[in-house]
Subunit: 351 residues, 2 copies
């Protein structure tokens, strides 16, 4: 396992606890010195767990978080199996560069979303972190309470929170906002998630006249322009009533759908907060500035965080490392549905 080199990447692919389990299964583990420091794991802890410190690129399997940099590609050897987030839809050139080394690569984004592969579903495990953290950010930026307070001097009403997109991140955001005592409304174009939203104690926002939209693999498909307009109009009203909006709508390999137009932000009360989890894909809000937090002229704070899981590197790495562990435990049988699904480069060829 190498140290991550990407900007803002503080996670690591393996944590000492997982190294221990790999060792128990008689795997050798080579960790680059200092690799876990940003995620709270020292070299001593890795060594105590049974790893040796050394050149991780000499291993048969190289476990990473972020896609390899140019400097890392030079170290990647023919015949090595690389495992990590490789952004296969967003960066086909990156896959070609990996293929040029003669290596084999498994993209964690491509792990099929089937029951058997749940324990390897790194998109879900990291989205859990993002959804949780998005609400913590919102509650910290908001100058109002989330919970209702009934004090001797009077009552403070609970915050109104709107969560757009009810995938793993959205459901986690709903759950966290509910824990903090807010009144939560959840919205997703897939009406199949209605019960999940309601089971968390939130209201399901329904737009009349929009059909069901679920594409292969459990993602929302992109809406038609007409559907988008109907959705926007209905949601704008709800947005105007919200103290906090958390958006989580992503369409793999495409720019994020613009669910919050500038006109809807204008309807929001001064002091309200938008946390846009789609900032890395351009944002679900027209006014999001990826990587920035700023306040509009109308007094609405817009937060466009990049790589939220990395801000909680210790637990995010722990979850990711268990996903990697499950994949390694499965073995690298390229006839297996899961391995085949995740494999994006096979012995120097993009597949």
């Amino acid at each position: 396992m190498p140290k991550e080199t990407a900007a803002r990447e503080r996670r690591v692919a393996l944590v000492p606890d997982v190294v221990r389990r790999l060792r128990a299964a008689e795997h050798e583990v080579i960790v680059e010195a200092g690799a876990g420091l940003a995620a709270g794991a020292t070299d001593e802890q890795y060594v105590a767990a049974g790893a040796s410190l050394g050149d991780p690129w000499a291993a048969e399997v190289v476990a990473k978080v972020a896609p390899p940099s140019e400097a890392e590609l030079v170290k990647l050897r023919s015949g090595t199996i690389l495992v990590g987030f490789l952004n296969p839809l967003g960066d086909p050139d990156g896959l070609a560069a990996i293929a040029a080394t003669g290596a084999t690569a498994l993209a964690m984004e491509r792990i099929p979303r089937i029951s058997r592969a749940q324990s390897m579903d790194a998109l879900s495990s990291q989205a859990t972190v993002s959804g949780y953290r998005a609400v913590l950010i919102a509650s910290t930026e908001l100058e109002r309470f989330f919970p209702m307070f009934m004090t001797a001097a009077g009552t403070v009403p609970p915050a109104q929170v709107l969560v757009l997109g009810a995938g793993v991140a959205g459901l986690q955001a709903i759950a966290t906002a509910r824990r903090l005592g807010a009144v939560v409304t959840g919205f997703d174009i897939r009406s199949a998630v209605k019960e999940q939203i309601q089971s968390l104690g939130a209201r399901f926002f329904e737009v009349e006249g929009l059909g069901d939209a679920e594409a292969e693999g459990g993602y929302a498909r992109e809406l038609t322009p007409e559907e988008q307009q109907i959705q926007r109009d209905a949601l704008s009203v709800q947005m105007g009533k919200s103290d906090v909006i958390v958006t989580t709508a992503l369409v793999p390999g495409r720019p994020a759908p613009k669910l919050i137009p500038a006109s809807a932000v204008e309807l929001m009360k001064p002091g309200s907060v938008i946390v846009d989890l789609a900032a890395e894909a351009g944002g679900n809000c027209e006014l999001t500035r990826p990587g920035e937090t700023y306040t509009t002229d109308g007094g609405v704070k817009i937060v466009g965080p990049l790589n939220l899981p990395s801000e909680m590197a210790e637990h995010a790495s722990a979850l990711y490392a268990r996903n990697i562990l499950s994949l390694i435990e499965l073995g690298f049988d390229f006839e297996d549905e899961v391995v085949k699904g995740a494999c994006v480069v096979r012995e120097g060829k993009v597949v």
Copy 2:
């Protein structure tokens, strides 16, 4: 009501909603232009609520948050009644300066803690904000989850949170940490609060051999050096197990008791977080740097926030304004127990 001028003070003493209620009771309200902006209240909202914009120091009663600055003292007229946080125990010179103007002053810190005055208890209303916010800060700084997660890939244990001091801020911190799913231990030298701590779903940390210590007014009395040592030894063990410690122990008019020695911080795991709500009084932790967030060599983050209520200016002001409203509704009868208790300067004389 003047605009606050102290550094970091974003609250205001009256909000539009309270202005409306004062007007309904036939009081005139003069608001300084721009006074509420930092707390999310515009001049237009104040005017719509019935206030006039003008020189607030011409009023019979001047409602403030922070003690008056030198520039403000010059504007304070003889015969005016000043109401606000005046730090009567910590800053006797400040009271003398107010007295020199010939004004009368009521310190919100001195509102008696009796049932009838609960609606005026601004220390409590602002401590509610501090306790809530302290936990939000802790959850954001911590690189671990507060709630337990049982995922397909494995289980993440809940965070262990220790709250020192179970006054209003401490109880609110306990409640908020519990809401977020942490396992919470509460400690207070006054064993009378045991049931309150337990009723919030937290464990009460008991130190054998320490008696009950409650001074007049519901505050903890300062411990003897011997009691402090017993307390420290027992707590150090608990601190070492904690992911988060929130400290809230204040003794009015004295430096904050040092409940967390440097040696206890060394026992904490790297990545753990201390939020010291007593930072303004020097801190409950020996290593706290008031106004700063930093990480020790051992990897423990120590946050020493100043004026937390001001970070949530909108709701903190709303609660404070209702406290002020209740006091004004009571009238300024200096024979009344509440008014008499709060009065620190009477017609130019410190009382």
